[in-house]
Symmetry: C2
Subunit: 197 residues, 2 copies
């Protein structure tokens, strides 16, 4: 009889969620079936329901674990006594490292959150909106201090966040530069485009 293998500190549910993230990334949430997931876990589809409540629950877990990490980080950075442009740089570096180290989850959270069901959907959208506003506020304060060019802050946030999601393509590409080089290039272009000089 098949059995889901677990290490210490990793519940069987965690294993399922992780495999789900990979599958949702590869095929998209809707196109990935519970039978696909079961196969990748090494078990029958019905057996998954001993550990999870529903397919959507898997998406919740993925999306909110990612969103929470970003929220905690911006909490932390916001209150640091450093110039705004450095806050922006820190945030960008965090985004980059998150997408490199938690590729599947971040990707899914970014592209598949549409398939969340209310009330999770509204909740997620709210968090996202708030996050972007706080990010924009940092940029605006940088503009007031003349550290940053006079630009529309919300637009700048959009550009930053989406630009960084380009790493998804880098992650899948075969002939790639190192993660460090990638990060350096990103910062050069993005922060370089902001700085007022």
């Amino acid at each position: 009889m098949a059995r889901i293998k677990t290490d210490k500190n990793v519940s069987r549910k965690d294993v399922i969620v992780t495999k789900a993230a990979t599958l949702f990334r590869e095929k998209g949430f809707k196109a990935a079936s519970m039978r696909d997931l079961a196969e990748s876990v090494g078990v029958e589809a019905a057996s998954l329901y001993n550990h999870i409540k529903s397919k959507t629950e898997l998406l919740h877990e993925i999306c909110f674990s990612v969103a929470n990490r970003f929220m905690h980080k911006i909490d932390e950075i916001e209150v640091e006594p450093i110039p705004s442009i450095e806050k922006v740089e820190k945030l960008l570096r965090f985004h980059i490292s998150e997408i490199i180290n938690h590729y599947e989850e971040v990707y899914v959270s970014d592209r598949e959150w549409k398939h969340l069901a209310d009330p999770y959907l509204s909740n997620f959208q709210n968090q996202r909106r708030i996050y972007r506003k706080r990010f924009a506020a940092i940029i605006e304060s940088g503009i007031r201090n003349k550290e940053i060019k006079k630009i529309d802050a919300p637009t700048a946030v959009l550009i930053m966040l989406h630009a960084i999601s380009g790493i998804e393509s880098w992650h899948r590409s075969t002939q790639k530069i190192s993660a460090e080089e990638l990060e350096a290039n990103m910062i050069t272009i993005l922060v370089g485009g902001l700085i007022n000089k």
Copy 2:
């Protein structure tokens, strides 16, 4: 008996494809059903098949019409006798105007191409790869001419293309700046981050 309305020069198939683009954008390709589409066209699901071959065909049409427009544009720009940095700017402006004027199609082509079936899938991926290489070549030539900072050109392309796809969010947002302002901000940040000075 219901009937699909058409203007001159717009076939019934075109009407279906357009509505499909909207639906695929809203729900995603997999989650959008032919019955949904039929309703939005004002007809029964089975009737759609008098005009189209399959659901996937709709996706082909959307993805390749978008891809072709970009290919033709880069053909055109590549041979112009202007500095590389201006070529980059022209390409960016084209991307921006495409996403503003053909929002639904471009969005779908960007995010739903995964659901294409071979041989269209490989074909599409190839076109994408080639496009990015040609874009990167323009940047590399700009680096050689010292117009552009020394950066990894493929990374720069990723950043540009994804940054621009951020306009999707702008497009749906309620309190937005004008399209002209948006374009100006984008160019400032992106081109500003490239220029060697």
